[in-house]
């Protein structure tokens, strides 16, 4: 990018260069056809963009549409490039930067949720403590025997991070996370 950063005073000044990387959440609506995920991921690896989180599933079966949610990190200029590059992919219908959109609505960020399954093994006091903390985090027990629990927890990424950190000394065995699902607040669709 041209380092000529001073504002130009033009009405068509698109993205102000701040050079500070930000996390943004993108929603990408695509035709659910073979190879479409590979196209999206290949774009990120081929052009050196970051993927912090990726979630994909078919959302409108009869229209064969899938929704891909990507959390990526970059400067505003790079984020704008990512959006345009994604839009070039033929089976991509729409790309919405949910973070930018939430700023337009005067909100700090879009609604973002993640689900995690957390396996904790142990006996005695640690086991009791794990259950008590899980309750505090509104995690539910979906599998258990006398030596382990599997907790299901939903929430913001930061909440899940925190839960996992707490479970670590209590016998954390393994974790599976879905990645971020996100929507903008309010009545409008993407």
């Amino acid at each position: 990018m041209n380092a000529q950063l001073q504002p130009t005073g033009s009405a068509y000044f698109i993205a102000k260069e701040t050079e500070k990387p930000e996390n943004h959440t993108l929603s990408v609506l695509v035709d659910n056809e073979p190879g479409v995920l590979a196209r999206v991921i290949g774009l990120f690896s081929g052009r050196g963009y970051n993927i912090e989180s990726l979630t994909v599933s078919e959302t409108e079966h009869e229209k064969h549409l899938s929704r891909i949610t990507i959390v990526t990190r970059g400067t505003p200029h790079v984020l704008e490039q990512i959006k345009h590059q994604l839009e070039r992919i033929v089976p991509v219908h729409r790309v919405v930067d949910l973070t930018v959109r939430s700023h337009e609505f005067g909100q700090e960020r879009p609604l973002e949720r993640e689900l995690a399954l957390v396996k904790v093994a142990g006996t005695g006091e640690a086991r009791v403590e794990a259950l008590r903390l899980a309750d505090a985090f509104r995690a539910s027990v979906i599998d258990a025997n006398t030596e382990h629990f599997i907790f299901e927890i939903t929430g913001k990424g930061s909440k899940i991070d925190q839960f996992i950190a707490i479970m670590k000394p209590l016998g954390l065995v393994e974790i599976c996370r879905t990645g971020v699902a996100a929507l903008n607040r309010g009545p409008q669709g993407m």
Binding site: M1, T8, Y12, F13, G46, H84
Partner: protein, 593 residues
Amino acid sequence: MSNGQSERREMTGAEMVVQALKDNGVKHVFGYPGGAVLPIYDEIFQQDEVEHILVRHEQGAGHAAEGYARSTGKAGVMLVTSGPGATNAVTPLQDALMDSIPLVCLTGQVPTSLIGSDAFQECDTVGITRPCTKHNWLVKDVNELAATIHEAFHVATTGRPGPVVVDIPKDVQFAKGFYVPPQMAPRTSYQPKVQGDLERIKAAVELMASAKKPIIYSGGGVINSGPEASHLLRELVDLTGFPITSTLMGLGAYPASGKNWLGMLGMHGTYEANMAMHDCDVMICIGARFDDRITGRLTAFSPNSKKIHIDIDPSSINKNVHTEVPIIGDVGRVLEDMVRLWRATAKTDKKALYPWWEQIAKWRARDSLAYKMNNDVIMPQYAIQRLYELTKGMDTYITTEVGQHQMWAAQHYHFEKPNRWMTSGGLGTMGYGLPAALGVQIAHPDALVVDIAGDASVQMTMQEMSAAVQHDAPIKIFILNNQYMGMVRQWQQLLHGNRLSHSYTEAMPDFVKLAEAYGGHGIRCEKPDELDDAIKEMISVRKPVLFDCRVATLANCFPMIPSGKAHNEMLLPDEATDEAVANAIDAKGRELV
């Protein structure tokens, strides 16, 4: 369309391929047969509407199709087999992607039941070609084959043009299904924006009208948009009186004889074009993409200008250079609006531009393309000048390979019309020019088609001489033979203390004998005073010609913006002493390509 009936007809997949080619107006296909495309070749054998041009290597088929596309404005079509056939197509696919050339590549694939089993001549064609195509398809159901091929042509030729691949397993070629003609609705996710935003075009016109030091910088997008866009560009230049320069890919959109023409810009562009880009106050970029070969050091690129950027691809806007007035749309449509609005609202104060033109005249007087003439040795620039003088009145198409000769051709051959100049710009593919010339000649059988070549590049695809002889394509391969990979050597002189690691070709073939071995015609010329007669002989021969033009071995290509430098830090030919060359690039520029 030769077949307009809408009723579905039953046929085999292979028949569908040929029918779909006919229905998309295809007259020529460049290809090479193999196991996985035999059913399609069998269909090609049994008809004569679509002519197949047999090449000697799939890369040749791709570049020939690119040359065909670039010179006609239509899609080029190539047909290759699975596995190595497909992998050999990768270079031309990427080449077409970077230069926005509509190229439809049909590949055979092993039968669907064997996909994934490491079968003979199997490769993951859609996987390998995904990043080097605009889009690609693997067709597993014969009933989707016709619609897929039609869509492939649509995607390749609309929006920002580019290469596409349709991978067709052998069992699908044999299977019977229903053919649909190309009348389906385009998919909703692919709707390129062609009409520019009128408010922004108005803003652009206002900005242009206020300019004191404007410059128009046009590119390959003008040529891709079609002849009308070139026409409108000329009209805009006439109306505004602005100076115009062009990228390598855009040569010919504005005539080199036009009075506002500054010559090509960029790394080996003219002094006046680059200085004007650096000092301008308003830059109008039309169908170009601020490539690193154009901008030089980005932080010093045209620091005091406001920029208008017309491009059909939104991702080109603000990619490398910030733009004040981006206009997304087809160059032709946008120029139509722009010319109309200019006529209606703006008036050029040609007097206000007078100091700017005066400044440009001073830069021009620097004569940056000058070289020292030699009476004993042919200077490469002189060879191209003579070629130009002796062919300019004819119906001529020029292709090139990649290297010094390519830059000299761009500097010293002057183009008056679009679609006359075929070169590998973005990817820089050595070996492009000879097969591209074959493709151009197939499209224009009576034209004079010259590949201005280097001795190193031309050996990369020399085998297509055999294809040219077979198809009576009298292409002229004008080789500037200095026995070096000249541009590699030039960079070794600039960057690596003149240590010429492997850039000298110690065993050069005898190009005259080689031409004769292929059944073509060979000419050798070593003296400047024999050059004109030799070129005339080349033009008059109705056969493929290899012209071995022995040129000064150590000539270098100037002017030059060394890597990491700005437009106003050019190395001019008369300043390019050995010392200046050795110190032209600093440590930071060294890392750049």
